[in-house]
């Protein structure tokens, strides 16, 4: 019974994946959106950066990068704290 359910789920997933693969845009021809066109046209004038990706990462979507930096900060803090706590615990026991 479990195998049958698994097989059905697998077929459904495969159908979704195949349909998604067939419906995807052709390479190099994405569906245009207003935001893409706006950023491509105005990024160099507004931010002065030749790399449009950098202007998106640090200027248009700077808040995302702030969150990314916070994640890194938290990860580093967690690693340093955890490894130290382990040491102290071994010493005391």
């Amino acid at each position: 019974m479990r195998r049958v359910i698994g097989l059905v789920l697998l077929l459904v997933l495969a159908a979704f994946l195949v349909s998604g693969m067939l419906l995807v845009h052709p390479f190099g021809n994405p569906s245009p959106t207003d935001m893409d066109d706006y950023i491509i046209e105005n990024a160099q004038n507004q931010t002065g950066s030749n790399s449009v990706v950098a202007s998106v990462v640090f200027d248009y979507r700077g808040l995302d990068t702030l969150g990314e930096a916070t994640i890194l900060f938290t990860a580093v803090t967690g690693v340093l704290l955890l490894l130290r706590a382990q040491k102290r615990k071994e010493e005391s026991s």
């Binding site: 046209e41 002065g48 990462v57 580093v76």
Partner: protein
């Protein structure tokens, strides 16, 4: 600690890795790359030193306090730059048109001028500082933990 050949080659190679990483950070607003990527390149040099030499030797030059201060400075510069343009909007690029990194390149493909980009190069430096210090501290702490040691203050 590995053999003398490996140690010598690592000693020579780490300079080039550092220069390449700093290049990627400094040219983040002109070429692919930026603070995160260049910082990761620099940290790969640190990892090479960790493999070639022992973490016991490296912990004397990479002290925890220095790395912590470096990372906090990077985060602080980033947040301050984000808040500095708050008169218009959060993360407003207020340096465009100013004498510091203020030039505006012509629209379209071009060779790129280093003195452009507004606060994006400064952001890249801040993030690069943060990534270098943070990932170095993590890698060194894990390597020292495997030996049962602890980072020096």
């Amino acid at each position: 600690m590995l053999s003398k050949i490996v140690r010598t080659v690592a000693n020579q190679l780490v300079l080039f890795i550092l220069i390449f990483g700093l290049y990627v950070i400094a040219h983040g607003h002109l070429t692919p790359g930026g603070g995160f990527q260049g910082g990761a390149v620099v940290v790969s040099g640190v990892v090479m030193l960790l493999v070639a030499f022992s973490s016991h030797d490296l912990k004397k030059s990479l002290r925890e306090r220095v790395l912590t201060i470096m990372e906090s400075t990077g985060a602080l510069i980033f947040a301050i730059l984000g808040f500095a343009g708050l008169g218009t909007v959060f993360f407003y690029n207020f340096l465009v048109g100013s004498p510091i990194f203020g030039r505006v390149p012509p629209t379209g493909p071009g060779p790129g001028d280093f003195w452009t980009g507004g606060f994006i190069p400064l952001m890249n430096f801040a993030v690069g500082l943060k990534v270098i210090a943070g990932l170095s501290a993590v890698v060194l702490a894990i390597a020292l933990f495997a030996r049962g040691e602890e980072m020096e203050e």
